[in-house]
Symmetry: C2
Subunit: 199 residues, 2 copies
């Protein structure tokens, strides 16, 4: 019989426990039991609890958001700016709504202040990724004379902040959520935002 990919399973189950109980509140024994092995077997794959934590974080480095969200068919819509923004926001919250991202935002919010988390986790780093993309979009819109000549950074902030708040409030907890309701909130936000900046 082939070996199952235990290392991957450990990271997976560790994310479950860390994101619900916090790093300090989760134990190696819990994780091992969830994987289906004894706690000592964990140390064949990781040399410490901290190393498991860092292995999780390495999967969520702030980068490549635009790859995951942007695509050619989205960029084709740039001549219909509101539709573009709506679709962009829609893809964003769909991505944030995936199970792994929901777990990660919990981990990020929980551990950003702790000793172990503060070294590697920064809310700003993750939001800055989205800010950067947004700034590019709005700079382009201004250049093309379809949006008012505001500071693109402020526009990025105004576009981004309500989305991140929706993520924090509705796309973090493990509960079943009414995603349709969240979608409506996002649509209303983007609609208001676009009406504020369109020429």
């Amino acid at each position: 019989m082939k070996y199952p990919n235990t290392k991957k399973l450990i990271v997976e189950k560790a994310l479950d426990y860390f994101s619900n109980n916090g790093y300090a509140g989760a134990s190696i024994r819990q994780i091992a039991r969830a994987v289906g092995i004894r706690e000592s077997a964990i140390y064949n794959h990781f040399k410490s609890k901290e190393e498991i934590f860092l292995a999780i974080l390495s999967e969520f480095k702030p980068r490549s958001l635009s790859e995951k969200i942007m695509s050619d068919d989205l960029l084709d819509e740039l001549d219909n700016p509101e539709k573009f923004l709506q679709d962009f926001a829609k893809r964003l919250i769909e991505y944030w709504n995936t199970p792994k991202e929901r777990k990660f935002i919990r981990l990020l919010l929980m551990e950003q202040f702790t000793k172990i988390g503060s070294l590697e986790l920064s809310v700003s780093d993750y939001i800055n990724e989205l800010r950067g993309i947004s700034k590019l979009i709005f700079s382009e819109m201004i250049k093309n004379n379809i949006a008012k000549k505001y500071d693109p950074e402020i526009l990025a902030e105004q576009f981004t902040a309500p989305l991140f708040l929706i993520r924090t409030e509705h796309l973090a907890k493990d509960d079943k959520i009414d995603f349709e309701k969240v979608s409506v909130m996002v649509k209303k936000h983007v609609n208001f935002f676009w009406n504020s900046i369109k020429l």
Copy 2:
């Protein structure tokens, strides 16, 4: 000599440790040492660690924000709406910047997902307080024909979300921060917001 108010000291130091290490990551012994007593003496004042946690939360029930922020001289400025909003936002972040509120927002963000925190802590509950006040303000502005006839709830959301994000990013960590820089960010936000809704 009179007894020092040990109970209050325990709550104070517990907030320090809980807000930096999380509930699970902080120990009764750490807290006791910070207070200057042995861990067993804690139990003369609280019957469990959980009771200390709940005592902290009872100091931060979501209410009375308007009492802390609003005042007559602020309401007198309602005929100068932008100045009113600027001063309102300024008082808000000054309040959020107090040491206790900085610690509490960390505790809230960290513990909202854990077993013990999820019963009593909800980010939405705290933001809703601000949303309610904001909604009242904007309803009044619309009625007085000084703001565009948007849905007051959306206006409250647009006004509130960037402020809460600033709180999360810049008014939570224990570091020394450049408060002047934060003030400028808030001013820019309020200015953009007002320009979007003014008649």
